[in-house]
């Protein structure tokens, strides 16, 4: 047994340790704290990559927290696991890696530029590391109550860091609303967990997946989970709140928020495909996803075209992408109980949705970093007040341009792969839906062009920048994300076969997920 057995737990414990030790390290000064922040975040990312490699080599892994042995989920004579079991399969490992990379980009974007009172700076590091730890924990845990607790921790930590270093009250009221709203989502999840606990006396997802019989209580639980996790992912009409909130965030805080939406996506597909899976049949949930996807797309695009506040714009773009992902998920759900339809387009839709969720969260993080840095450097929020920034901020302009290219879904960058898969499968499912999706993609591309033009082209209207672009951390954060996207772009088939296809197959294999935790014998 090597130390890497403990990776699923260490990935939570390590950033937690970082958060706990931060006040001690702060005694040695600002520089030491920054170095510690960088080390903790970087170390967590390395652990995430190791976890991903281990899953790729050895297949899905489990870890029984507090058990005598790490793989003994069921002690003698028991059919349900009494302890909390961490289970990581290919999908979980993918989300862990991408989430950790996003959080690491946020760390890089934070380093020297954010200033506030000493208490604020110290607390920022503590809360950021706690948010990172809880985001990763939400992915690795297979226990629903544990998930709910980490969901609460993530909401709390990621909400309060947005208000730090802000002069205006707008950020505070946005944070208040967001925290209250995620508190209500948390209540819904807790209610769902309580109902499942009352019905089956266990809250382990794999055990529940094996026991679940579709009835009234299970329908209620599904509605509660779907509502809460769709809202966490950023879909449905409630999103104006999230967009507003993301618009207020500092560069570092926004990255962790976007990684939170990715985790919300993961939890959504986990609950729908691994917890309910085949017993859903041809229910209405597929249509719910399709409708909420269409709503998200139309909301994102219309408000994107109407708004002149450019910090809100990555939120709108992310919303439109979310809509596409939900369309793909809906189609996959609708076709999931017909073998023929699944082979024809359901599989492709799921593949497209999954890869689009990952790619768009990376690209939107890059867009977000660019706009957030521009807002900081020009201290302006209106598209009318800025313009011609390409001359003074060439590196930011290039990152913004490439990120919009990826989001728009045009070749040669990675963005076109998921879009192509999605359009193809949506068209096979329903030509009208396919047409809507293609039109929405074109609309998003026009929206991107509008903001690129407004920000970077035309005459320079800003008199003075508060800070030069050459801030190393900004260049590193944006460059790192850009390199990742370019790397994926050069190897599209590699990233599809190594990253996406295993994830899709574990998602459709509900019995496989049960088998990770409960073993094959049952």
């Amino acid at each position: 047994m090597d130390w890497q057995t403990h990776l699923p737990a260490l990935i939570v414990a390590f950033p937690f340790l970082g958060a706990v030790v931060t006040p001690l390290v702060s005694l040695a000064g600002r520089g030491a704290r920054h170095l510690w922040f960088l080390l903790s975040s970087c170390g967590t990312t390395v652990l995430a990559l190791l976890l991903w490699r281990r899953v790729a080599l050895k297949g899905a892994i489990l870890y029984v927290v507090g058990g005598e042995s790490w793989d003994l989920a069921l002690p003698a004579g028991l059919s349900l696991p009494p302890r909390i079991v961490l289970a990581v399969d290919a999908l979980g490992a993918l989300i862990v890696v991408v989430g950790a990379l996003l959080a690491f980009a946020g760390t890089l974007a934070y380093l020297p530029s954010d200033r506030g009172t000493p208490e604020e700076e110290r607390s920022f590091v503590v809360l950021y590391l706690l948010a990172m730890s809880s985001a990763l924990a939400m992915v690795v845990t297979s226990d629903l109550f544990n998930f709910a607790l980490f969901f609460g921790l993530f909401s709390l930590a990621s909400t309060s860091i947005v208000t730090f270093g802000k002069k205006k009250g707008a950020a505070v009221i946005a944070a208040f609303d967001a925290l209250l709203f995620s508190g209500v989502l948390l209540l819904l999840i807790l209610f769902a967990v309580a109902l499942l606990y009352g019905r089956y006396n266990t809250v382990n997802m794999a055990a529940l997946a094996r026991l679940l019989r579709f009835g009234f209580v299970e329908k209620t639980v599904l509605v509660l989970f779907a509502a809460a996790l769709l809202a966490r992912y950023g879909a449905l009409p409630f999103t104006s709140l999230f967009t507003e909130f993301l618009g207020e965030a500092s560069p570092a805080a926004g990255c962790i928020l976007i990684s939170g939406t990715l985790v919300g996506f993961y939890a959504l597909v986990r609950v729908v495909f691994s917890l309910y899976g085949t017993i859903l049949g041809e229910g209405a949930l597929g249509w719910v996803f399709v409708v909420s996807g269409l709503l998200s797309i139309s909301f994102g695009l219309t408000f994107g075209f109407r708004s002149r506040r450019f910090p809100l714009f990555p939120g709108f773009i992310l919303l439109a992408q979310t809509g596409h992902v939900l369309l793909g998920l809906g189609v996959a759900l609708r076709s999931s109980c017909h073998v023929r339809a699944m082979a024809d387009y359901g599989m492709v839709a799921l593949k497209g949705a999954l890869s689009l969720a990952v790619v768009s969260s990376l690209a939107c993080a890059l867009l977000f970093l660019a706009t957030a840095f521009i807002r900081r450097w020009t201290s302006s929020e209106d598209l009318v007040d800025v313009g011609g920034l390409a001359k003074v901020l060439p590196k930011t302009a290039v990152s913004f341009f490439l990120a919009s290219w990826v989001v728009a879904g045009l070749p040669p960058f990675i963005g076109y792969v998921p879009k192509l898969l999605l359009h193809q499968s949506l068209f096979a499912f329903n030509p009208l839906l396919g047409a809507v999706s293609i039109a929405a993609s074109i609309g998003a591309a026009v929206l991107l062009a509008r903001f690129f033009h407004g920000l970077f082209l035309g005459p320079l209207r800003v008199e003075s920048l508060s800070q030069k672009e050459a801030s190393l951390s900004a260049v590193l954060a944006m460059g790192g994300l850009l390199c990742l996207l370019l790397f994926l772009s050069f190897l599209p088939s590699w990233s599809l076969t190594r990253w996406i296809e295993p994830s899709v197959s574990v998602l459709l294999d509900q019995a496989g997920y049960v088998k990770i935790v409960l073993g094959g014998g049952l």
């Binding site: 109550f145 607790l149 609460g152 909401s155 709390l156 909400t159 309060s160 208000t163 009250g169 707008a170 505070v172 009221i173 944070a175 208040f176 925290l179 209250l180 508190g183 209500v184 948390l186 209540l187 807790l190 209610f191 967990v193 309580a194 606990y197 009352g198 006396n201």
Partner: protein, 113 residues
Amino acid sequence: MRDFVVFSVSVLFLLGLGGLVFKKNLLKKTMAFSVAQSSVVLFFVVLGYRHGSRPPLFTFASEGDLMALPSAQVMATATLILSVAVTAVLLALIVLLHRHYDTVDGEEIRRLL
């Protein structure tokens, strides 16, 4: 009796939710959130109770006692801690808003924004 308890859980939750939606005062919104959260705690406690059961405690227990289910109580305690943490941060944000705008009325604050 059990039906009555489930009934009161849902009424509590709805009262809290209604307060969250309809009250303009941010402090009252926070209180409504606490009420809604307490309904979840009550629900967990109810789920753990078996008719005529004692607390799950072996100190001073006698043979053959029926005990309440322990994990439901653990979840209830954890939910309480969650509630305390979230409420504390909400209150701190209200204090900040009051410093900025000299009011705790949500609509008033949005008008001043």
